[in-house]
């Protein structure tokens, strides 16, 4: 009974963070700023959902379930890498940054 409460709260928190990350994706004015939502807000969101899954499966099946930790680890490893690939190709294609972005001269030609 208590575990149901815990699972639903964790799912709600996780869902909220994923939603905020997606809102950031629409709301931000340029590509570089858009990248911040998916690389960060969603990691905590996924963590919330996965911890919820751990609690749920530990309660409904025999023994505790820790497989979900693996998903978290792989997410933490892959999220920055995919973000890096995206921003690298954006720089390569010379995408326009929002007006007023400081330090644009820090980008070197390649």
């Amino acid at each position: 009974m208590y575990s149901e409460w815990v699972v639903s709260i964790l799912l709600l928190i996780g869902g909220a963070f994923i939603l905020i990350g997606s809102i950031g994706l629409i709301k931000m004015p340029d590509f570089f700023m858009r990248l911040h939502g998916p690389t960060k807000a969603t990691t905590l969101g996924m963590a919330g959902v996965l911890i919820g899954a751990m609690v749920f499966f530990s309660n409904t099946q025999d023994g505790i379930s820790v497989k979900e930790l693996l998903i978290t680890i792989f997410l933490l490893i892959t999220a920055p890498i995919s973000g890096y690939m995206l921003i690298k190709s954006a720089i390569h294609h010379k995408l326009k940054a929002k007006e007023g972005t400081k330090g644009l001269d820090n980008i070197e030609d390649d």
């Binding site: 990248l35 990691t43 969101g45 023994g63 820790v66 400081k102 980008i107």
Partner: protein
């Protein structure tokens, strides 16, 4: 920086440990059979794959590495909250910027870890490491490397550079001793 392990039968201690843990997690059990199987895999797979891998620096201070991992996990949580607030707040007030952070690290593996940490922590995404190796004359080693990062809301450039260097880079230097 040390590239070779002290024990020839255990060329990559950290990767072996990771394999051991991942095998147990995948099977979701700590029964004796799986413990033995995990140990066998953790020793045999690195031995089999080591000859054709590029040697990477080894973790010399595991205790410090664990402490740094906890710090980064804590920062990831605060980063998520901060970025969530920034996203929900007024977009016009944000001051995006590109910042160049000079690096003291020289090997590409610690730099990769640093770039990933920077991407996961408050308001910053790492974009590029300068100079790009292909742009240099062949065989020449870059003198000073820079990490280009994009900041969502920049307050003080020097302060940000100092934070990254002190909080994330200095421990990495210590962990890999390079």
């Amino acid at each position: 920086m040390r590239l070779e392990s002290r024990f020839s039968w255990l060329p990559t201690p950290f990767r072996s440990g990771l394999l051991f843990v991942v095998w147990l997690l995948l099977n979701n059990s700590v029964s004796a059979g799986h413990l033995v199987l995990a140990t066998v895999f953790a020793i045999l797979i690195p031995l089999a794959t080591f000859p054709f891998r590029v040697p990477q620096p080894l973790i010399i201070k595991p205790g410090l590495a664990l402490k740094q991992l906890i710090i980064v996990l804590y920062d990831i949580i605060t980063a998520n909250l901060q970025v969530a607030l920034l996203i929900l707040g007024p977009t016009k007030k944000l001051r995006p910027a590109f910042v160049k952070v000079p690096l003291d690290l020289s090997h590409s593996m610690p730099i990769t870890i640093l770039a990933s940490t920077v991407s996961l922590t408050p308001g910053t995404v790492s974009a590029e490491v300068y100079p790009i190796p292909e742009s240099l004359p062949k065989g020449e080693k870059p003198k000073q490397r820079y990490l280009l990062i994009h900041v969502l809301d920049l307050n003080d450039e020097q302060e940000l550079i100092n934070t990254i260097k002190k909080r994330y880079e200095a421990p990495l230097k210590e962990i890999f001793q390079c």
